[in-house]
Amino acid sequence: MKGDAEQRSMTDDRPVLRARGLVRAFNGIRAVDAVDLSVSAGEILGVIGPNGAGKSTLFNLLAGELLPTAGTIELLGERVERAPAATRLAQGMGRTFQIPRPFGALSVLENVMLGAQDHAGERVFANWLAPSRVHAAERDAKARAMELLAFMKLAPLAREPARVLSIGQRKLLELARVMMAAPRVVLLDEPMAGVHPVLVETLSERIAALAREGTTFLLVEHQLSLIAAVCQRVLVMAAGRVLVSGSPAAVLADPRVAEAYLGGVTT
């Protein structure tokens, strides 16, 4: 199930990630109410909506941090809605956090190397019995991590503890960390929030470049303006439901969207 470059195909129209009839209720209130969505390979889908629209709940359901009350989630054709968060990445789906969560005391390089999956050196006995295999795995992981750091323009900071990074750099680091696992799809939780405008540009560029290489992105964002340039398709949520879906331009022009934002959540 691991992301395999050769398996990726831009012409593959089957959805990489698909949710059907997704519901999550908290004490009877449906934060996410019968949401359907599907994202295909290399696509960048934006999910936006006013506060309380259910974006975060939807995100947490997809990331495996919440169990759905009803509905299904398919990742590369496999049902995953009951699988714990820690198994998602090995199944091909990575995520970042709204407030980035770097391992502050560890170097930037090792932060990224932690994204590697099925690393021989992460097993106890391999370190005692097969040190040369661990060494080789570690060398490969380091080479890949340095490549990603260079791609994210963080290479000069590789040896620094991650706590020194700015918010924007932390978001780039999180993206590098998750790309280390070569996921097929990445969930981005408000990737632009709190990021310096210069880094917003770097970040959107990098996301677009990764999507051109076949990685699928689903990003949740509060403000449409921040992601209009990056996303091919936008899904607007309000009161737990999908209100509109379409191109950023079409969605921006839709009066229902303006109403949802201006009029607050309609219940």
Partner: protein, 320 residues
């Protein structure tokens, strides 16, 4: 002259054995707390499990007691490591999903249960009297007391060196990196596919096994063990060693052991030689206060301990 010198050496050897024994327990705690962030306050219980396991496996049979298998010391030590590791594993399976404070309460409770078992399973553990005549390696060579102490130091040092090297190899690795990541931010580590339960359990078991080894080494150097060796004061000492030396750094853990044992011995000598007889009991209590003061000073002025941890975990990234 040579008598004074050998006396001094013998004292140094006894001191060294004490440092090494507690140092191994401290290395175990460093793996659990320093590397993984698991708050174990049942250290003494696991040391006791190791001590009693090895003592029971290696001692000669005594009428009226079960146990007393008369096995070689090596087997006793390995048994101590396995049994203490297994007890940790069981404890871990039950508690590692709990939050830090609940884990602390549970580990403390387990240490109390172990203490009660040792005091009451008289047929196996000798109860309050403990177990005596535990085999001490090289005792049969008939060396003088001083030479025997030196030889004891050497074999214990070799065992500890082996344990230290195995542990360093394990911790300065991608595995150790995962532990540090889990300690820093469990949710982020889980999002990277690292199973918190799996790695915590591994860390808890290996740390507990080291505490068991400490108990076995103590049993085979002292030659007798009793329940009061494994009171909460031992747990406190091992924690003090780790915090003073530097949590997250194995060399720091050993340095902390040297300092705390030195302070413990020095205040002991001071109390015995300076204080009047009717103050002796109070002097013993003041020794614990002295460690507390050192601990407080370390937390105030060197919160990361004398040796901090490094930014790069994996030894494979060192030379480039």
């Amino acid at each position: 002259m040579s008598g004074a010198l050998s006396g001094w050496l013998a004292y140094a050897a006894s001191f060294g054995v004490l440092v090494l024994v507690q140092g191994v327990a401290c290395l175990g705690l460093n793996l659990q707390w320093g590397q993984t962030g698991l708050f174990n306050v049942g250290v003494a219980g696991l040391v006791a499990v190791g001590a009693y396991t090895s003592a029971i496996l290696t001692s000669a049979a005594v009428a009226g007691h079960s146990g007393g298998f008369g096995l070689p010391v090596v087997v006793g030590c390995l048994g101590a490591v396995l049994v203490a590791g297994a007890v940790s594993g069981l404890l871990g399976l039950l508690t590692l999903r709990l939050r830090t404070d609940y884990l602390a309460i549970t580990t403390f409770g387990v240490a109390v249960v172990i203490d009660l078992l040792i005091r009451n399973l008289t047929g196996l553990t000798g109860g309050p009297l403990g177990i005596g005549f535990i085999p001490r390696p090289f005792e049969s060579l008939g060396l003088g007391a001083d030479a025997f102490r030196a030889v004891s130091f050497v074999w214990v040092a070799l065992v500890v060196l082996l344990a230290y090297l195995l542990l360093e190899r394990l911790v300065a690795s991608p595995w150790g990196r995962v532990l540090r990541a889990l300690r820093e931010d469990e949710r982020a580590a889980a999002a990277l596919g690292k199973s918190p339960t799996r790695y915590r359990l591994q860390s808890f078991v290996i740390g507990g096994a080291l505490m068991g080894l400490a108990g076995a080494l103590q049993a085979h150097t002292l030659g007798f063990i009793a329940p009061e060796n494994y009171s909460a004061a031992l747990t406190f000492q091992v924690w003090a060693m780790l915090i003073i030396g530097g949590s997250g750094n194995n060399r720091g853990a050993l340095l902390g052991s040297v300092l705390v044992v030195a302070l413990w011995s020095a205040t002991g000598l001071l109390a015995a030689n300076v204080l009047p007889p009717d103050w002796q009991a109070r002097g013993a209590a003041l020794r614990i206060v002295a460690i507390g003061v050192l601990l407080a000073a370390a937390i105030l002025w060197r919160p990361r301990g004398l040796m901090g941890e490094s930014v790069t975990v994996s030894r494979h990234l060192d030379h480039d």
